[in-house]
C-alpha cells in the first residue's frame, strides 16, 4: 500500500489531477461562460444550443464544438515564417501557466489513514513528543499520520517569486509569435505585448510585497493555511488578506488582468487596428493561444484566491469540523475550544477542495464581468496607469504596511 500513497504524493500525479480535475474543465467552461455571461450582461441570451443528441446543458457543450472545429480546421502556415519559432510560440504561451500551477495549494494535507475519523490536529502537533513517554500511543499516532498527501504540487519557500519568474516567460509566447509570423501587424502585436508586460510587471510584484510582509512568508501554502495573524484560525475570513491588504488586492487584481492580456488591457490584440500577434495562426495553434488566455484567467483567480481569500479554507471550518468561538493554541498553533460540529477528515478535505474550486470560479466570473464592463485602454493610458498610478501606490502600500508592522505588530511573527 505504501507505494500507492507514494504515487499519489508524487508531484506529477498531483499535477495531472489538478489540470484534469480543475484547470481544464474550468478553462473550457470559461470559453462558454464568457459568451453566455456577456450576453446576460447585455440583455441577450447567448449560446445555448450546442448539444449531443438530447444533452444540451444550457449550451455548455459549445466548448466541445469549438474544439472539434479547431481540430478539423486547416493548419495554415504562411510562406516566409520561421517554422521552428512559429510552431514553438503557442507552446511557449501555454506551458508556463501549467508550470506555474505547481505552487498553488488546492487543498489541505490529506492523511489517508485518518480519512474516516475526526481529525485531531492537536495530536498531530504533539505526537513526536510522545516518542519517549508512551511508545504505544506514539506508534498508533505515527501510523495514523503516515503517508501524508499534500495537495500542493511543490511547496517551495520562494513560491510566489517562482510564479512571477515563470509567468513572465509566457509573454515570450506572444512576442515570438509576432516575430516569427513574418507579418508587420503580428510583430506590432508582439511588441505591444512586451511593452505592456513592462508596464504592469513591476507594479504586480510590488503590490504583493505588502502581503509578504503581513504573513512573513512567500509560500502560498503557508499563506492559505495560516492567514495573516497567528492569533486567529486560518479559516476565519477576517484572517484572510483581503481585510489586511485591501490596497494590495486592488492593485494586484488590476495588474493581473493586464497579465492575462484581456480587455480592458487587450492592447496586444486590438482587432480593428493590428488584429494581434496571432494573426497568422489558425486551427489548433490559434486554439492554444486562446486556451492559454483562459488558463491564465484561472491561474490569476487561483493566485488571488490563495493569497487574498484564504485559498482552500472554508469559513469557520477547521481541520476537525466547523468551529464557532474557540482560540488558537499558541504552542501547537492549532485551533481549539469553542463549539464544534465535528466532521470526518474525508468530508473536511472534500469541502475544502470544493471551496477552492468555487472561490476560483467566482473570481473568474468577476474577471469576466470586468472584461465585459470596461472599454479598452489606449497603450499610453496603460503605461501611465502602470507607471504613474499602480507603481507609486504599490510602493506606498509596502511602506505603510511595513510601518504598521514595525509599530504595532511587535516581535517576529512566524506563523
Amino acid at each position: 500500500m505504501d507505494i500507492v500513497y507514494k504515487i499519489l504524493d508524487f508531484p506529477g500525479t498531483k499535477w495531472v489531477f489538478l489540470i484534469v480535475a480543475l484547470v481544464m474543465p474550468l478553462a473550457s467552461i470559461l470559453t462558454w461562460m464568457e459568451r453566455r455571461q456577456s450576453a446576460m450582461m447585455q440583455d441577450r441570451l447567448g449560446p445555448n444550443r450546442a448539444n449531443i443528441g438530447p444533452i444540451k446543458l444550457k449550451g455548455i457543450l459549445h466548448f466541445v464544438a469549438d474544439a472539434v472545429k479547431m481540430i478539423f480546421k486547416e493548419d495554415f502556415i504562411p510562406a516566409n515564417v520561421h517554422r521552428g519559432l512559429f510552431a514553438l510560440a503557442p507552446i511557449l504561451a501555454i506551458a508556463p501557466v501549467f508550470i506555474a500551477f505547481s505552487i498553488i495549494p488546492f487543498g489541505p494535507t490529506v492523511y489517508p489513514h485518518a480519512l474516516t475519523q475526526t481529525f485531531d490536529p492537536t495530536l498531530l502537533a504533539t505526537y513526536p513528543a510522545l516518542a519517549g513517554a508512551d511508545q504505544v500511543q506514539f506508534k498508533q499516532a505515527a501510523e495514523l499520520f503516515s503517508d501524508p498527501i499534500r495537495l500542493q504540487i511543490f511547496s517551495i519557500d520562494f513560491g510566489l517569486i517562482f510564479y512571477f519568474a515563470v509567468l513572465t516567460l509566457a509573454n515570450y509566447g506572444g512576442t515570438i509569435a509576432g516575430w516569427a509570423s513574418y507579418n508587420k501587424w503580428a510583430l506590432l502585436g508582439g511588441l505591444r505585448s512586451s511593452s505592456q508586460m513592462m508596464s504592469y510587471e513591476v507594479a504586480m510584484g510590488i503590490s504583493l510585497m505588502g502581503a509578504f510582509l503581513v504573513t512573513g512568508t512567500l509560500e502560498p501554502g503557508a499563506i492559505a493555511t495560516f492567514g495573516a495573524s497567528a492569533s486567529m484560525s486560518g479559516s476565519n475570513p477576517l484572517n484572510w488578506l483581503w481585510l489586511w491588504q485591501p490596497v494590495g488586492l486592488v492593485l494586484f487584481f488590476t495588474a493581473a488582468i493586464a497579465e492575462t492580456k484581456r480587455a480592458p488591457f487587450d492592447i496586444p490584440e486590438g482587432e480593428p487596428e493590428i488584429i494581434g500577434y496571432f494573426v497568422e495562426y489558425s486551427g489548433l495553434r490559434w486554439g492554444l493561444f486562446f486556451l492559454a488566455e483562459f488558463i491564465e484567467i484561472v491561474f490569476v483567480a487561483a493566485v488571488i484566491c490563495t493569497v487574498f481569500f484564504g485559498g482552500w479554507q472554508v469559513p469557520f471550518l477547521d481541520a476537525d469540523g466547523f468551529r464557532i468561538g474557540g482560540y488558537v493554541d499558541q504552542i501547537t498553533g492549532v485551533s481549539t475550544g469553542g463549539s464544534v460540529w465535528f466532521l470526518p477528515h474525508a468530508v473536511v478535505v472534500l469541502l475544502q477542495f470544493a471551496a477552492f474550486g468555487i472561490k476560483v470560479l467566482l473570481l473568474c466570473w468577476f474577471q469576466l464581468a470586468i472584461r465585459w464592463t470596461l472599454p479598452r485602454f489606449r497603450a499610453d493610458q496603460l503605461m501611465s496607469l502602470g507607471w504613474k498610478i499602480l507603481l507609486p501606490l504599490s510602493l506606498a502600500n509596502v511602506m505603510v504596511t511595513a510601518l504598521i508592522k514595525l509599530l504595532f505588530m511587535s516581535g517576529p511573527e512566524t506563523p
Partner: protein, 232 residues
Amino acid sequence: MSASHDHPSEHGDVLTDQPKVVSVADRHPRSRTIQVLRPEAKDVTFLAATAKGLGITLKHFARNFFLPLKSAKDRATAGAPIEDKWKNEIETIQYPEEKVTYPERFRGLHRLLMRDDGNVRCVACMCCPTACPAHCITIIPEESGGNGVEKRPAVFEIDELRCVVCGLCVEACPCDAIRMDTGDHAKPVEDRADAIETKESMLARGIRSIAVQGGEGANWKTGGPRGHNHDH
C-alpha cells in the same frame, strides 16, 4: 495670446477645447508651445467609473441570470414596457421554436390560386415575368384543353433566391392568380435548386379565389357577382 489670433482661418472660436498657446516662435509662427491641462484625479484613477460601470452591468447580469424569461409574446414586441417586474430583460426570440408574427402586409412566399375546379387560375398571360425586375419567374404556356380558357402554364417556376420580394408580379396579375400573402418567408435550403418554387409547390399553398375572372363563369362583361357557377 490665443490660437485664434494667429490663424483665424484655421482655428475658429467655435472650437473651445483648443490647447492654450503659451508662446509662438518669432521666425515660424506655426511653431508654438502649448499648455496641456493635467487630467483631474477622477479621470486618472478610473476606479469610480469602474465601480459605476460594474454596478450597471452586474445589475443586468443578476436580473437576467436569476429571473425567468419574459413570455414569447412580450419578447416579440420590442420596447414594450415590462409588465411583470419579476421577469428578466432578455428580448431574444429563439427562432425555430418561437416566431414573430409578421405584419399584415408582409410580402411572403408566393402562392398560386385555384379555380373552383381546382385548376390553376393562371392563364399564362406572361404579365408577371414581364413585370418582374429580377427575372425570376419562368412560365412555359400550353393549350389548356377547352374549358373556355385558352392557355395555362405548363411550367410556372419562381427562383426565390433571385426574387427581390417587390410584389410587382402580384400587381401585374390581371386575374388574381398569384399572391404573396402567405405570411411566411422563403425557407433556408441546402441546395440552390431547392429554392426554386414550382407550380405544384405554389399551388399546394393556394386557395380557391373568389375574384371574378374571365373564361367559364361570371366575368366583367356579363356582370353580376361571383356565384354564377354555383347556380347551375
